[in-house]
């Protein structure tokens, strides 16, 4: 489904050359739950952004269902992310002036998906929080709204970058199980530095200094 061939990402940070990924070869199958584990600064987030098209590799190739992401225009990559992928970020980003339900619908601006968004929030124990604004939700509730946003529209791949970092352990475990349970047939790629969050993963990849171990 997602394939990386000899993929490298090099960038300059304040005059210092950073090798975020070095010759990564990786394939993720449909429905697979893949965990990417590594210490801070190991390149795991960069790897995730390469897979979802938010970053373009310096060398090598990233493809999704056989289509080369580099050969796509920025607009095509944007469309791919919007239509095919779901995202959960480290910090539970929500739009402040939208309520929980509207924040979920941001992922797929299609009014027909409103019932599905309601259903997702209900399944994530947020049935009574649909009309609450972000400042009225706890950190765990916000992250669950983000999970609902990522799941809306039956995303084919869900990318989660440290989704439990801003949560306590119990809430983190809960979010992970929600992602796993509700992703349907979609693949799940989770980046974390906490191995306990990947106990249910089909496969765990360890990355260090940009290289898969």
């Amino acid at each position: 489904m997602i394939r990386l061939d000899s993929t490298s990402l090099v960038y300059s940070d304040h005059g210092r050359t950073v090798h975020a990924c070095r010759d990564v070869d990786l394939e993720i199958q449909q429905g697979e739950f893949v965990g990417i584990l590594g210490p801070s600064g190991s390149g795991k987030s960069s790897l995730l952004y390469l897979m979802c098209g938010l970053k373009v590799p310096t060398s090598g190739r990233v493809s999704y269902r056989g289509s080369d992401l580099q050969s796509m225009s920025i607009k095509q990559r944007d469309r791919l992310r919007l239509k095919e992928f779901g995202f959960v970020f480290q910090y539970p980003y929500l739009i402040g002036y939208l309520n929980a339900l509207e924040n979920v619908l941001v992922a797929q601006p299609d009014p027909a998906l409103r019932p599905e968004a309601v259903s997702l929030l209900e399944r994530l124990d947020l049935a009574d929080k649909l009309d609450r604004y972000p400042h009225e939700l706890s950190g765990g509730e916000k992250q669950r709204v983000c999970v609902a946003r990522a799941l809306l529209g039956g995303s084919h791949v869900i990318f989660a970058d440290e989704p439990t970092a801003a949560l306590d352990h119990t809430a983190g475990v809960h979010v992970m199980s929600l992602l796993r349970e509700h992703r349907g047939e979609g693949a799940l790629v989770v980046v974390t530095h906490d191995p306990s969050m990947l106990e249910q993963a089909d496969r765990v990849i360890t990355i260090n200094d940009g290289t898969i171990q």
Binding site: S45, Y49, L54, K55, I74, K75, D78, R79, L80, R81, L82, K83, F85, F87, F89, Q90, Y91, Y93, I95, G96, V106, A107, D161
Partner: protein, 351 residues
């Protein structure tokens, strides 16, 4: 609001001139230079060659008194009329109900119109001209005996009294076209025909022309002031907008990371900005109209000062403000999004 207020107040000065002296649009005033006999020649030429039908030519005297304006005292004509011409003049100037009575033959009495009475706070029995008032002088106290209801500014006394006590000691003429719509044609013809001659003509179009010329410099200065104001407001609002957009970086980063195209985000921000600016401008226009109407009712009307509180010109001058702010905002957003990396936001490196 500020710009509309400045424009309305500045505009009120020439508007006041044109309002106070608007009686002149109903007549052509003529005074002789050197010899009163030139008036006979004038009458003859008008009778034989005027391009429009003439309603009446009346003999009058004219001196001056002072009226109040927002920029100080202005001289205003005090006509001396014969009894029959007083009534004709009022009818010609659409005069309505008269409070009091007309001045009697030769008496130190005056009739004024409603705006003059309001402006000078006159009532029937008040003194219009006085030996103690060098600006509105008459050797005998001249009392107001009547106030006529018309929008035109008018003051007149009996011609017999005027001839005995007022300067200059020469008769003049007022020439009225049969139809008011022809008065301008008559005035233009007379100004052209008697140019360089021994008559001095007083036509409303001259008042308009001289007023426009006199205020051209003032309005040029006002334009510079307004342009400076627009620039300052644009810079201030542009900086505020920049701060506001900085606070929305998370939102833009999130939307872009989720897959919203940069163009769609840009269009959305610009549409929001346009709606906010348009809404604010419309609200400000309504508030400005309200304040200007309040100023007019509370400050201008009681003194019969002229101001156009609802003139479109007042508000057209403020149109560049939202347009300039929109341009600055668009420039700011385009620059911001051009260099924008959503990953830096979702990784919390830009918040």
């Amino acid at each position: 609001m500020l710009i509309s207020g400045i424009v309305a107040l500045m505009d009120s000065i020439p508007l006041s001139v044109k309002t106070v002296y608007s009686y002149a649009q109903y007549e052509l005033g003529v005074s002789p230079r050197g010899d009163e006999k030139v008036l006979d020649d004038f009458r003859e030429t008008v009778r034989e060659s005027a391009p429009v039908p003439i309603d009446r030519v009346i003999v009058c005297r004219a001196s001056s008194a002072m009226v109040d304006s927002i920029v100080g005292k202005w001289p205003f004509v005090v006509f001396g009329f014969e009894q029959g011409d007083m009534r004709y003049y009022i009818n010609k100037l659409n005069g309505g109900k008269v409070i009091g009575r007309f001045p009697e033959v030769g008496a130190p009495e005056a009739m004024v119109s409603r705006p003059v009475a309001t402006n000078l706070n006159l009532k029937v029995g008040s003194t219009l001209l006085s030996p103690d008032d060098p600006d509105s002088y008459s050797p005998m106290p001249v009392k107001v005996t009547g106030i006529v209801d018309t929008d035109q500014w008018i003051m007149f006394v009996p011609i017999e009294y005027h001839r005995l006590y007022h300067f200059p000691p020469v008769d003049g003429l007022l020439v009225f076209a049969k139809n008011l719509k022809d008065q301008h044609t008559l005035d233009s013809w007379a100004l052209k025909t008697f140019k360089g001659g021994r008559t001095r003509l007083y036509a409303y179009q001259e008042v308009q022309k001289e007023t426009d010329q006199a205020f051209r410099t003032l309005f040029a200065i006002v334009n510079v002031v307004i342009a400076s104001l627009v620039a300052v407001l644009t810079i201030i609002m542009g900086m505020l907008f920049n701060i506001y957009q900085s606070q929305r970086v998370q939102e833009f980063g999130l939307l872009q990371a989720l897959g919203y195209p940069r163009g769609a985000i840009l269009r959305r921000i610009l549409a929001e900005t346009a709606i906010v600016l348009l809404g604010s401008w419309i609200l400000a226009v309504f508030i400005a109209v309200g304040l200007l109407v309040l100023i007019k009712v509370q400050m201008f009307d009681p003194r019969a000062y002229a101001i156009n509180a609802t003139s479109a010109t007042n508000f057209l001058y403020s149109v560049p403000v939202p347009i300039m702010i929109f341009i600055v905002a668009a420039f700011d957003v385009v620059l911001r999004l051009k260099k924008f990396d959503p990953v830096r936001v979702v990784e919390r490196r830009l918040v």
